[in-house]
Symmetry: C2
Subunit: 467 residues, 2 copies
């Protein structure tokens, strides 16, 4: 097998190899069982890295064209015949993870305008460093020992206090500490769902969740997200058609639209949950960015059908991996069992650092400053976008995200070209839709909009001067 | 419903409630659908805590006798009729998690003689605290940002170096950082197995894994663990009967027997893996307790069929949650994708602390001291047990575990009574068997055997003076 490799092309070597093997399979017959060259051999004959070949084979395995037999090598898959004529479309899982990979692997000089976290220079270090030093100095168990599977009682009690102003009455016994929002979702998905179950998600919505549900073979149905919450009319129509086990909702500063659930819609959603007997995951990881608390589903429902998620990743630190679930009492033990079997416990050190900052008030003060700063930055971003003829889906009062559409005069290709030129990285809008439909809408993170590269990008989009 | 509650009984209130509801269901007909009293009501009428009632209902739900309908309450399950006459046997999952729960919830004054980690006073703090302070002071990204999904390249490179003396040639690109050994196992189980698949485990073996496999609905078959590794004859017989996807093996200082795989057995296992086409998880989390490296499966196999696990939890800190998988190249991308979808990344802070200690040599020195101390302690423990007429399964050269059987003169009940009286907590031996068969063997952790309570217990077992 001799494949064409162009080192100067923009397409990564691995993708070139992948395309080459696809063509080879098509040309040499796609009957299953033919052995393909070894990683070592392909790498040597083409003077490329083994990693590039590994990557290419991995994509072909994921696409169902190639089968890997451990200890033996790679073979054309039996299913290749049916697949080889299709373009190198990525699977849902791969597309989602590629999107995320892009954000993690982008070079340091690229501005992550579309990403889901705060820029490092927005984070405040002094109080956190102080808390880290204090735990390191004072707590032997904090630096050495497993935490309890449910998480330290003192921390859960402090979280109970923090939920009170949101009118969520959770006993510390109902709170389970986790390694952040994604870990919380994973635990819940494993506890509540079986392969083939139907889950409703908001569309646009949190794309990592779509990948997780796909991984667990859950059927994902998108409910349109409007400026005041899920589209109730559409939700009712979908409920006539499907019997979901679960509906996943971002109540405050929704990802990606920045919108916030109104009390009326919250009430309607809960009524429908009662009538159609589904549970709700209320993902409230942006709660601490909000000035005056609005209505939470968990508050109306009393943590009965609603499982409520919180996190310290967005406000305090994404590095520590601390989040929590407030759960109906009857589900706590099972949740903790699953957590214990899959990870023993979360990091006791990280939990004690968060405990320290909740106890001494520094976390409260930090979030107060942060939410003021974000609200100001949101106002500024909205005014820039307006002046530059971008359409805004809804005007968020705060938080990080605005869902915006560039002027219709610019093509998607030109937009992508300008972003590259301005060293700006975007989160492609289609990833946020459950069905990955193409869309001109983009998620922008307003915390990055002060940067000159963001300004240059917005300016360039307004008056494109493409070659 | 009026249940008998005896506050002075040794049986916990929750278990009394559970037994009472079982009796009630049996007496009042086990037809499905009957509504049971609410948590609040049962707690109020019996003057007991709501948690006790929640716990009781949760056990009944797990046992299939009761069904929980979120938002509505608890009902007799349809399956209750078939189950109600059975004793309150715990499910495999529950039994395992109860075993672990015991270790976590034991009061501080109990000596955890059967547990799987080092006592806090054995851990050395200075270098770790130094590394924590250094990362906190020097690295903004370390305290704030997500790690990359695969983990920092520098850390993976350092681990690559550490694997070299074991003759394991893993490229840094083949290493995936995880949140510890249990998290590694969970990622692998999810990637490699489907419900209904057969997995071979060592028996006795690591009981948390049995629970995890049970959770994922994997069929678990135990292969006896002998002093030199898995029982090859029995393995061959089982391979004539089953087609396992995977065989899980602890090569060095096996949990719970303390035994170490010999090169000849390692070679035979790999031959059988080739012939019967199964993969192997080599769990080597006690590697750093070993003085002179012995043969690893991953070294013979070249990380082809073998997935190799390591961890810093046992040696450095269980709190930080840092472990890794060295994987065949073709599986790396998928593994990282699953990790990303289920947790985004591990803790960057913890990863940087470990990186610092690997770089400055303090981790190497710490493990050198630790392994000498453990080897001495093992020798001491073996001599104490011998003198006290305990039988030892095999004499480990180091590590934490010895698998030992008390003198036949003592009954299991008396042993348990003496342990309670001496404030010693044991790990019941049957948990370590895949089929939970009763056994007089116990796992003892030699690092706890210096404690006067351990000595008092061993003495008391030798000359029991029970009332």
């Amino acid at each position: 097998m001799k494949l064409k490799v162009n080192r100067d092309a923009r397409t990564p070597i691995a993708q070139q190899i992948e395309a080459g093997i696809r063509t080879w399979i098509a040309a040499h017959g796609a009957g299953g069982g033919r052995r393909l060259p070894s990683i070592r051999r392909l790498a040597a004959t083409h003077h490329i890295s083994r990693n590039a070949v590994i990557d290419a084979y991995e994509r072909l395995v994921a696409a169902g064209l190639v089968r890997s037999r451990p200890g033996s090598g790679f073979y054309v898959a039996d299913s290749a015949a049916a697949l080889v004529s299709q373009p190198a479309a990525t699977s849902g899982l791969e597309e989602v993870t590629n999107g995320l990979w892009g954000l993690f692997s982008a070079n340091e000089h690229t501005l992550k305008l579309g990403c889901g976290w705060l820029p490092s220079h927005w984070r405040e270090g002094d109080d956190l460093i102080h808390a880290i030093r204090q735990v390191a100095r004072k707590s032997r168990s904090g630096i050495f020992e497993y935490s309890t599977p449910q998480g330290p009682e003192e921390l859960r009690r402090l979280i109970q206090e923090r939920l009170r102003p949101l009118a969520i009455n959770a006993d510390a016994q109902q709170i389970v500490m986790t390694g952040g929002g994604s870990h919380s979702l994973d635990l819940l998905v494993r506890m509540l769902l079986e392969p083939g179950d139907v889950v409703f998600v908001e569309s646009p919505g949190y794309y990592n969740l779509f990948g997780l549900l796909h991984l667990q073979r859950i059927r994902v149905i998108g409910v349109p997200r409007l400026a005041d919450g899920p589209d109730i009319e559409r939700l009712e129509a979908l409920l006539a058609q499907y019997q979901p086990k679960l509906f996943y909702i971002n109540s405050v500063f929704h990802n990606p639209t920045g919108s916030t659930l109104t009390p009326a819609i919250a009430h309607r959603v809960l009524q429908l949950a009662e009538r159609h007997d589904f549970q709700i995951i209320e993902d409230d990881i942006y709660a601490d960015f909000q000035h005056a608390p609005t209505t939470r589903l968990a508050a109306l429902d009393g943590l009965n059908r609603v499982l409520y998620l919180g996190s310290f990743s967005k406000s305090l630190s994404s590095s520590l991996r601390v989040g929590f679930i407030a759960s109906p009492p009857s589900l706590v033990q099972r949740l903790v069992d699953i957590k214990m079997l899959t990870s023993i416990s979360a990091s006791r050190f990280a939990e004690q650092v968060v405990t320290t900052m909740l106890q001494n008030g520094s976390y409260r003060k930090l979030t107060e400053r942060l939410r003021t700063k974000l609200a100001n930055q949101m106002a500024l971003a909205l005014s820039i976008l307006k002046k530059s003829n971008w359409e805004v889906y809804t005007e968020p009062a705060g938080g990080m995200f605005v869902w915006a559409k560039p002027p219709a005069t610019i093509t998607p290709e030109a937009l992508s070209e300008l972003a590259d030129r301005c060293e700006v990285m975007l989160s492609p809008g289609h990833l946020f839709f459950a069905d990955h439909q193409p869309t001109p809408w983009l998620r922008l993170n307003v915390a990055y909009m002060q940067d000159p590269r963001a300004k240059a990008f917005i300016d360039a989009v307004r008056e494109p001067t493409l070659p």
